[in-house]
């Protein structure tokens, strides 16, 4: 069919709007299935969230939450320098992520409205309360790590942050999945696992980068376990999504996801092989930190792609109806 025929087809409102992005956006695998849409317009509204703010928030929140766990484990096993970097790292990460979150609100002065109510039905409400509960102990732990003052308060803060931190890392999976965005909601079973694994990768990476070699073992273990879990969760998630998995292979989402997986795998291998070498360990840490960030941005972008193209909304729903 020529472009003209396509254009004429579009007028009928049936099977229209397929794969005709101006500017030749990358569209590697074109699903053959026919579907109808309203002139190719999206059925749902893509999130209005800014990529850097919210992608960054997902990443830094995970880094913070998992670092708090690592800090507590390091502390309990007498690895004080690893505990110190993890405590400081988690606080810096959570502060920046908070700034990103507030920056993204259309009306930042109204952040406080989040704490008007508590709703289990709103992952964002749960998250706001989690963050409010997590911030202060995390800050106390970091304060004591930096200044050396109030060690008991610092330890209590570190332990409390370690208990709440995993919640901060995990809830973001539900935050994304509880939307009509196909690439997120279709992954609702796997996203929390993917996100805590990615958080473990980042926290392990930070430990490998910043802690001395003789204390880095927990970070190394956490990073490797996180990498394996993350790659498995991502594989399983895309395997269950059907056509929506295309969104994870398309355009920038595809590039980010592929790079993230390569970096994570390479980082994990380097973390194992380089266990006696400070430089290799640090390089592994950088790869893991970057890989984890790319994973989050990849998921974010895939969601945007899947929300902007009606095929990802219509076809899975049609299949669902047919199966009923």
């Amino acid at each position: 069919m020529s472009e003209d025929d396509h254009a004429r087809d579009a007028l009928t409102g049936v099977a229209a709007g397929r794969r005709r992005r101006r500017g030749g956006a990358e569209r590697p695998v074109v699903p053959k299935a026919e579907f109808a849409s309203y002139y190719g317009k999206p059925v749902i509204k893509p999130p209005t969230w800014r990529t850097l703010d919210i992608g960054g928030y997902l990443y830094l929140g995970g880094l913070a939450g998992a670092s708090s766990v690592l800090a507590a484990g390091a502390e309990l096993s007498g690895r004080h320098r690893l505990a110190r970097v993890s405590r400081i790292g988690s606080f810096v990460a959570i502060v920046i992520s908070g700034v990103a979150l507030v920056h993204d609100l259309g009306r930042p002065e109204r952040f406080i409205n989040m704490l008007r109510v508590f709703k289990f039905s709103s992952p964002m409400s749960v998250g706001s309360w989690l963050l409010s509960a997590y911030g202060p102990p995390c800050g106390a732990a970091a304060f004591s790590a930096v200044t050396g003052r109030l060690p008991h308060v610092g330890t209590a803060g570190a332990m409390a942050a370690a208990l709440i931190g995993p919640g901060v890392a995990a809830y973001t999976g539900v935050l994304l999945a509880d939307t009509a965005v196909p690439a997120w909601h279709e992954g609702h079973r796997e996203l929390p696992y993917l996100f805590v694994s990615s958080a473990a990768v980042a926290a392990g990476g930070l430990g490998l980068l910043a802690a001395p070699l003789d204390e880095a073992l927990p970070a190394r273990r956490l990073a490797v376990a996180g990498s394996v879990a993350e790659l498995l969760a991502a594989h399983r998630m895309r395997g269950r999504m059907g056509i929506v998995a295309e969104a994870y292979r398309t355009g920038r989402a595809g590039r980010l996801t592929r790079t993230a997986e390569a970096l994570t795998a390479a980082g994990a291998v380097a973390a194992v092989l380089g266990w006696r070498n400070r430089l290799i360990s640090a390089a592994a840490g950088v790869a893991l930190l970057t890989g984890s960030a790319f994973t989050r941005f990849g998921v974010f972008d895939a969601g945007m792609i899947s929300a902007s193209d009606p095929v990802y909304t219509v076809l899975p729903q049609r299949d669902r109806l047919r199966a009923r």
Binding site: T12, G13, I44, L70, G106, K119, S121, A170, A225, R318
Partner: protein
Amino acid sequence: MAQRMGFFTDTSVCIGCKACEVACKIWNNLPEDGLNLTGMSYDNTEKLDANTWRHVAFIEQRKPLAWQEPGVEHAGPVPPLSTPPDTAPMTPMTPGEPGDLRWLMSSDVCKHCTVAACLDVCPTGALFRTEFETVVVQADVCNGCGYCIPACPFGVLDQRKEDGRAWKCTLCYDRIGDGLEPACAKACPTDSIQYGPLDELRERADARVARLNDAGITDARLYLADTDNGIRGAGAFFLLLDDPEVYGLPPDPIATTLDLPAMWRHAVIAAAGLLSAGLIASVGRRP
């Protein structure tokens, strides 16, 4: 609580005049969208968004609705204005030989879902359910977090760039409380938009679809009239003449919050996994 009120939009009598769009804009004081020509059809509004709470879709199909008679050369006497549509020679409803073009027009609006994902996910409580079981945003509470926007399975809500807040149809909350019908329904010249108690509307819709089906218009079907869908029924439902996706509507919408218990379960397991992984990783004192 008052009776559940809603809209039945019968697209088979929509003439695409956009009186509803205009009335909605005027009553609700909505900012203009600019004069854009989309070039895709007579639809230059394109979609529902923060400043468009009624949107008339135009679909041009190479598919017959029914025989269409331009009526310039009436052999017999011109039928009186009171002629019912199914006997008049020149309404789209007249059964007959197929032509080769049909226009579908449909006025879309917020569905005021029984299980409304937008309302469930709103972290501030800005979205609430009224005594008429409609779903309304309180602008002074909304903090512009934007969560409701991708949560809606119909893409109804959107952000107003100027103030960052989310806006949508209120089912004219400020009119129906006073016993007035919503502005769009009031303005609709063909009664394509009908407002009333939901039970009554459903009965009327059942009768209407049965009549159309009997008349040979087998395409006619109700959309969201039942409660056996992923939003457990809607306060605004439709009579359509083609698949919902042709009108830009999702064929099987679900309120994703119905999956929340499962999602929270997974999140708790995942969090517990992270906590134990972090602690187990630290087992053994440093060398």
